[in-house]
Assembly symmetry: C2
Homo-oligomer: 682 residues x 2
């Protein structure tokens, strides 16, 4: 190809990219599809709307999804759709066609095409799960003018970038009832996630009914566990949504709950095992040199495995320091005898035996990346969780792929660290790694992890959503879809739609604040919660010793979320104002400074209450600095003394309070320095 042709082609591509960008301003789709084109049509949503399902294979899954689609569309628009279920009629307006029922494996096809015309909508997919993905896209396209709701005329071709797009929920540290799981499965499906990783055991609880070893749920769950009937129900529910369920039974470490029930399997004789009430990494570990341990796990897994039809079975395997192994002379003898140099080698011995047990049950072993040792067979799947934060050069994902393992990434997607969605959204699973075709194929995908040390059913949704929606886009959409501002815009639309699935991330904030205010006006607390964020990167509950599992999670920090709403707007405008002194930015800044100045008056009306007290200093200092800054910006004057006083407020506001941090403090400081630089009077 000569240079001119190259330039033309490059031009075409950049035109395509530009129009794609324009469309992503227009349509609030998340994850963004692989291809979308407008076709000038408009499909009106009215009471006559009907759906039909074509194809010869079982229609059950699509029938359920189409029925749910009708309910959600009707609920969202208020349109009284007259036919509440799919019909058998070729004249139906929405036609869903698929070829086969998905086998729900990593080989399943989730691609689809969606074409919206004036009087007809066509969905075409290889599998029924592909059709489900199309219905979610269609729902996201619902829009309106002043007189009617409609679907805009677009043609979409779509398929996922990764086959494994997961969300892990830890139900051990704080139990999450079936209703919480189901609504989160609904939400997962709405952003095309397809793997629910169920972290079922840990030091803080064993959450599954075992008929073979009933002491597990009887003694090690505080009565908070899933019956086998409930597990089957959840797995079926997930399957109806095209979501695979991977159970995790974390061994040999994180085993306090196991050993509370069956202490004889422990590594330290006479150790008094108890369900852990704190967070952290603990010593109780299964004994890898006792045959009883393997018999126990074989029996348990043989009982449990049929509940989970998926091929993969997660055995945890993380964070075992092996303290109790080191302290056990028999275990040390065993290591010598079998030429196992380190505890890590011993754990590999343990893992390999587990792998054989699972293989007989037709399961593939998956484990956190500690299981990746030189002797571990490449049939295991490596779940990469460690990276630079844990002192490594990079995540273990690429290493695993290069060593021949199938692998899934979670490093970078730990949403319990309470970081901005921007942080997670900009982590690409592959990044700049150079991989062979085979190596690339081994990277199955990624999983968002929701560890539950600090979440309860009241708050878990606001920790998972909406960030998980944007991360789901990272797993589904092309690598090039990475405009952060545009992501925020689309995420905000999806954020609202999550409410119709019962996700409580928005509504429960006020529940917490109402309890704090004991029936009085919560406006001043809302104002504060919109600029405060829970402490990040595990600095809330430092060392795991402040909160017990039954401590209150009804505090101000629990009402706050990452990406505090008003902070995002204020910070952006503060930067813009400092950069170019735009009037528009000044207006926004001024609006907020005014609001925060006045807020303390309302706050003092509800502050005569111990649960509100920890916010008093914040509220007051914020009001004071807001007043000063407002005045300086208005009068374009600041004295050295005023500057010093403000500087002092900033110092105080930088301190954590009530387990949160003030997300606008940098902007306040920048504005203060701006005033000093420009308006200082002598």
């Amino acid at each position: 190809m000569n240079r001119i042709v190259l330039i033309i082609i490059a031009g075409l591509f950049s035109q395509l990219a530009a129009s794609q960008n324009a469309l992503s301003e227009k349509y609030n789709l998340m994850p963004w599809p692989q291809e979308i084109q407008e076709n000038n049509s408009k499909f009106k949503i009215n009471e006559a709307l009907t759906i039909t399902i074509l194809g010869d294979d079982s229609k059950e899954r699509v029938h359920k999804a189409a029925t749910t689609f009708l309910r959600r569309l009707s609920g969202r628009t208020g349109v009284f759709i007259d036919t509440g279920f799919p019909v058998e009629s070729k004249n139906a307006a929405i036609k869903i066609n698929f070829e086969t029922v998905s086998d729900l494996t990593i080989h399943q096809n989730e691609s689809y095409t969606l074409e919206i015309k004036n009087d007809e909508i066509l969905i075409q997919a290889k599998t029924d799960v592909g059709a489900l993905r199309a219905l979610e896209t269609l729902l996201q396209l619902t829009t309106h003018n002043t007189s009617e709701y409609y679907f805009p005329g677009v043609t979409i071709q779509d398929a996922p970038r990764f086959v494994w797009r997961g969300l892990m929920i830890d139900v051990a540290r704080h139990f999450q009832p079936v209703g919480v799981i189901k609504r989160n499965l609904d939400a997962m499906a709405s952003v095309k996630l397809n793997v629910f990783h169920w972290h079922l055991t840990d030091d803080q609880g064993f959450r599954v009914e075992s008929k073979v070893y009933p002491k597990l749920h009887e003694l090690a769950s505080d009565g908070l566990y899933y019956t086998q009937a409930q597990i089957k129900d959840v797995v079926q529910y997930a399957s109806n949504l095209g979501i695979r369920v991977i159970p995790e039974f974390d061994v040999p470490g994180h085993a306090s709950a196991f050993l509370t029930a069956y202490p004889e399997l422990g590594s330290k004789d006479g150790y008094k095992n108890n369900i852990e009430r704190y967070a952290g990494v603990f010593d109780p570990t299964l004994n890898p040199i006792k045959e009883e341990t393997y018999i126990f796990l074989k029996n348990l897994f043989t009982e449990i495995a049929p509940l989970f039809p998926d091929e993969y079975f997660h055995i945890g395997g993380d964070e075992n320091a092996g303290k109790h192994w080191t302290e056990n002379k028999e275990i040390q003898k065993f290591k010598k005898k079998h030429d196992l140099k380190t505890n890590h080698d011993l754990q590999t011995y343990f893992n390999i035996r587990l792998e054989k047990i699972l293989k007989k049950l037709d399961k593939k072993l998956m484990g956190w990346d500690e299981i990746m040792t030189p002797t571990m067979p490449t049939t295991a799947v490596i779940h990469s969780w460690r990276g630079t934060n844990e002192g490594l050069k990079s995540s273990t994902l690429i290493e695993a792929a290069k060593k021949g393992y199938n692998t899934v990434l979670s490093n970078g997607y730990y949403i319990d660290r309470m970081l901005s969605v921007k942080h997670h959204y900009t982590v690409d699973p592959i990044g700049k790694a150079v991989l062979t075709k085979e190596e690339r194929k081994r990277i199955l995908g990624a999983e968002t992890t929701m560890w539950s040390e600090l979440v309860t059913p009241l708050t878990i949704d606001s920790r998972i959503w909406p960030r998980t929606a944007a991360i789901a886009e990272r797993y589904w959409s092309a690598k090039e879809v990475n405009d952060v501002d545009n992501m925020f815009q689309r995420m905000s639309a999806v954020n609202l739609q999550l409410e119709e699935l019962g996700i409580t991330h928005i509504r429960n904030r006020d529940v917490i604040l109402r309890n704090m205010a004991k029936g009085q006006d919560i406006t001043s607390l809302i104002t504060l919660s919109n600029i405060c964020e829970p402490l990040k990167i595990y600095s809330r509950n430092e060392g795991g010793t402040e909160y017990k599992s039954f401590s209150p999670f009804t505090l101000f920090a629990d009402a706050c979320t990452a990406d505090a709403k008003d902070a995002l707007i204020f910070n952006k405008n503060a930067s813009q104002f400092i950069d170019n002194k735009s009037n528009r930015s000044y207006g926004k800044i001024s609006y907020y400074l005014e609001k925060w100045s006045r807020n303390h008056v309302s706050f003092t009306k509800i502050s005569k209450n111990p649960i509100v007290q920890p916010l008093a200093a914040l509220s007051k200092n914020l009001a004071e600095i807001s007043k000063s800054l407002q005045r300086s910006l208005q009068t374009k004057k600041i004295t050295q003394e005023e500057f010093s006083v403000c500087k002092n407020y900033i110092t105080q506001l930088r301190e954590p309070f009530a387990d949160t941090e003030l997300a606008i403090v940098d902007s306040l400081e920048k504005l203060l320095f701006f005033c000093e630089a420009n308006y200082l009077t002598k």
Copy 2:
């Protein structure tokens, strides 16, 4: 006794009553206890708080309740209670003592005493369920000053007025998942209700898995039914809360779902039975002359009965017009042959056969009051639902008691009629009826009924609560506890506490409004929802033909509730102002008129949206009349023309809009007439 002694005694009683009244201004207890005295103590709630359970009988139920108590107390106060479970220590601060485990029958004892001292709280009860009731009272006493939470020193002796205090939930017309039921059971227990009546079948659905007749749930539930495991789980959950569960299988009418599955049991040959999508009374009725019908019901009840350990079994029996019976020649022949003069007589024949079937299953038959016919044995329990609204002189309750039946009242407690809580609160089950001791004993109690034609899991809580809390007081407390203003005050405290049990009555309003506003500011919609109430007494969905079961219930009317908050305040102040022109009332009125005047400006920002459009005229007219009234009240002037224009607004605002009514329209009219009478200029 001479007259002076009588006067002294009367004086003592009225003093007692007066101090009781003073206390009910101070403590937000609901239901109000039988006896309460202050003792000048104060028990501080801090992290050292512990609970112990004394007594020799099984502590399981109290252990669960005490654990929940600790969680709720901690969540409500933010206090990090260090010991998360009851302890076995005589030094624990809260001591719970009970004699026996309740048998959960109508004979169970729910009385308790509660004594709060400085360092100790003593709960004493005959049964564990009595102890549960005490714990709820204790939680309601939680209070605070600026520095700490505490329980105020009181001594309470308490016991219920009626043994049967129920809530019926209809899960047939709109299915309610297990989570909805469980949270409502928690809320029931919090106001000491003890019977959950589960209306499981109706024309719109059969909601129980049947292994004997699987077509029932397979063909007649749209997949929305409880598995038997779920039913057992709910019954156990209720038992843990001291709540009995009464199932209802409505026969022989309300049988469309039965007959969708098994049309051969119908009364009209060849009739095409279908699950009903509309609301109303329908014709499909079980055939009472076929032996197959009784074999079917015997087998079904034999399967179902063991799921429900309670002695009572509700067979519905209501609203059978017998149209299909009249149209069936065989049935008419049968009637003649057996000397059954009317269809009602035939139904009694049917009921008596059912009673025998149930007796063999150790169940007592209960049915709606239509079953009370001269030949019906008095072993049946009469559920009185009809009264003056249905053309009777009074409810059938007293009649039933006098005729020798045990009986339960629901007439007057139909909360789906969407009336003010005041209406229900002032209905006394016995009223002025003169009864013998035996007759009085037959009045077991009462049940609030939540029919679900117009409620979904999103909205059901706001229809049940908080009104059911005040009605629960009617069932538990002394007849003399009937001060409406005081009830409103205490109900408002309980209202907030219901949120901690997961009741969504407050939080879901904004979910609906956010969906309407599509992410824009909902303040103007909140303002309207605080003065609008859903249409009452079944005038929403007139004749049952407007809404289908799958129609949207995400409309403005669904965000509104009975007893619209601002309307209550405005109406009270409007009356007071007209009566005595108090400045305080004028200030309140003026505040609201100002608010409503401005509201339309905000409203127009979000009204470009079909789901919001139906409110446009309301919003505009309300703003206009508020402006005019505000001006007239301020200037003390109104012209004849202004009066006429306002009169016209009133007429328009009286019309229902978006299935709601404006709850302040009478007050606006009164104020207008006040202005005309006092300020008219010529």
